[in-house]
């Protein structure tokens, strides 16, 4: 298998990726307005406050929408076709975009409950994905 595409880990996003290595989904919470946010950003899109803390979230949610890739756009994913990429509605009210692991693509549906799983792809990088709740 071609090597997967890895994140560029930097000062801003390091707590997210460190959390993944520990099997925890970590998100930012604004210290001014108290809102959780994702995608990772240096300032709060609601109140523009630049200070925040990181905290673990449940890793539970449901599929808001999805698609099944039948076509390999990128060599890194060629061996995984067909694979599912989904917009996950987290229980905390935020959205994440990840692939869906461990599911038959034909069984994936909108509203399917899912939970985060963590795949260590290198010694340094563990990638979060979601999988249907058993």
């Amino acid at each position: 298998m071609s090597s997967l595409i890895l994140p560029s880990i930097d000062e801003l996003n390091r707590p997210f990726w460190d959390g993944c290595r520990e099997g925890r989904l970590m998100l930012q919470r604004c210290t001014e307005c108290g809102r959780l946010r994702y995608p990772i950003a240096s300032l709060c899109p609601h109140c523009l406050c630049e200070s925040y803390t990181w905290e673990p979230v449940s890793g539970r949610g449901s599929i808001y929408s999805f698609t099944v890739f039948r076509h390999a756009y990128n060599d890194a994913w060629r061996d995984r076709v067909p694979y599912v990429v989904a917009l996950i509605a987290l229980d905390e009210g935020l959205f994440m975009l990840t692939d869906v692991a461990g599911a038959n693509p034909d069984d994936v549906r909108v509203a399917l409950p899912v939970v985060a799983v963590f795949e260590a792809v290198t010694n340094e990088v563990t990638i979060p994905r979601f999988t249907p709740v058993a």
């Binding site: 698609t67 076509h71 990429v85 975009l97």
Partner: protein, 379 residues
């Protein structure tokens, strides 16, 4: 409110399709030359040049320099904008606003691309910061596949209903001598075409094309000397959601409704007044959303609206994409939608002419479901 006083005076398009040996500059030259002739203007009449760089433009956003240099024009107004498929409408609007403000009197808006033979790959990962490629999310079709699957889950929309859009666009292209794909297709052809990103198949996706398009906007006063009757912008609108999935309705492009509502209000018109529409069709599902956002049917009802094809073809309630659209005419990122809108209002469309067409809605959308523009064209 009323639309801009400035008018569309001329349109031009190069040959379209697979054009080995062509360059964005050579194609843009052809399109702009045609548009000048169509408007009855000469190049020295132009005091504005706005461009949208194609995927293969060697100069990128500075494309206006090479085109302006080639044409030997030194305009008062120039620059480039890049809003994907919304750009055609946005540049025409910018031209009109600048003209109304007295900054220019004749502005050419030009797009050129050699995506077909120039090696463009529409497979980039989208997203900010950490690339969505980490999770296998590539290309633009997948964003619209999210739209399609959620629309199907909420409203019962079917792949066959998407197929009707493809079939009707191809039918219209078959009546357009300039279209790239003119061989009619059936619902079966659609259903059997190669799956790309569920539920979208190859025939749900736009073409990849070489070509160029130019649209010339002039002041009302200037248009009195034009070769043809001017086409007016009765209403114009834009709307954008610059967030992506962090906006809960991102998948449904809620800004498109705002975009069209603005234009309706400006024109003092509503969906019942629209005779023909050129709806941006990067993918079949996009047409369904436009039909809902423009009020031709209620949210969730666009599937049944297009089913059978009668309502959206010639002689029906709302003929759409009468030249074939991005799906079958050529993928000029919505620029040919403006051209066809102008030609329908002028009554130049021969076999595919919508009888007594007086109002044409032209829409464009682009980026990662982020941008939208529309023009309501009339006499």
């Amino acid at each position: 409110m009323a639309g801009p006083r400035a008018v569309i005076a001329g349109v031009g398009a190069s040959p379209q399709g697979k054009l080995p040996g062509s360059t964005p500059l050579s194609l843009a030259t052809t399109a702009l030359t045609q548009a000048l002739a169509d408007a009855g203007l000469v190049k020295d009449d132009l005091d504005g040049l706005l461009t949208m760089p194609g995927t293969t433009s060697p100069e990128g956003p500075k494309q206006y320099l090479s085109l302006g240099g080639n044409f030997g024009i030194n305009p008062r107004l120039t620059g480039s904008m890049a809003l994907g498929g919304a750009t055609a409408g946005v540049l025409v609007q910018q031209a009109a606003l600048a003209i109304d403000a007295g900054m220019a009197s004749a502005v050419a808006c030009v797009f050129a691309d050699t995506a077909r033979t120039g090696g463009s790959r529409f497979d980039a990962a989208a997203g900010r910061g950490d690339s969505w490629g980490i999770w296998g999310m590539f290309g633009n079709a997948a964003n619209s596949a999210f739209t399609a699957n959620r629309h199907m889950a909420l409203y019962g929309t079917t792949p066959e209903q998407l197929g009707w859009v493809a079939v009707i666009c191809r039918k219209h292209a078959s009546m357009n001598p300039a279209a790239v794909m003119r061989e009619p297709i059936s619902l079966e052809d659609h259903a059997e075409s190669r799956p790309i990103v569920d539920p979208l198949r190859k025939l749900d996706c736009c073409l990849i094309s070489d070509g160029a398009v130019a649209v010339i906007v002039t002041s009302e006063e200037r248009s009195r000397d034009s070769a043809k009757a001017p086409v007016r912008m009765l209403g114009i609108g834009q709307g954008h959601t610059l967030q992506t999935f962090e906006h809960p309705e991102w998948w449904y492009l809620p800004h498109q409704r705002d975009c069209i509502s603005q234009a309706y209000r400006m024109a003092g018109l509503g969906p019942e007044d629209v005779d023909v529409a050129q709806l941006y069709d990067n993918f079949t599902i996009s047409v369904l959303l436009w039909l809902e956002h423009a009020g031709f049917c209620a949210p969730g009802e666009a599937g049944p609206f297009v089913e059978g094809g009668e309502r959206i073809t010639l002689g029906g309630r709302l003929p759409i994409n009468t030249a074939g659209g991005n799906l079958s005419e050529s993928y000029m990122q919505g620029w040919l939608h403006v051209v066809e809108g102008v030609r329908q209002i002028r009554g130049e469309c021969d076999e595919r002419q919508v009888k007594d067409a007086e109002v044409c809605l032209v829409t464009g959308r682009g980026m990662t479901l982020n941008t939208a523009s529309c023009l309501i064209l009339g006499k």
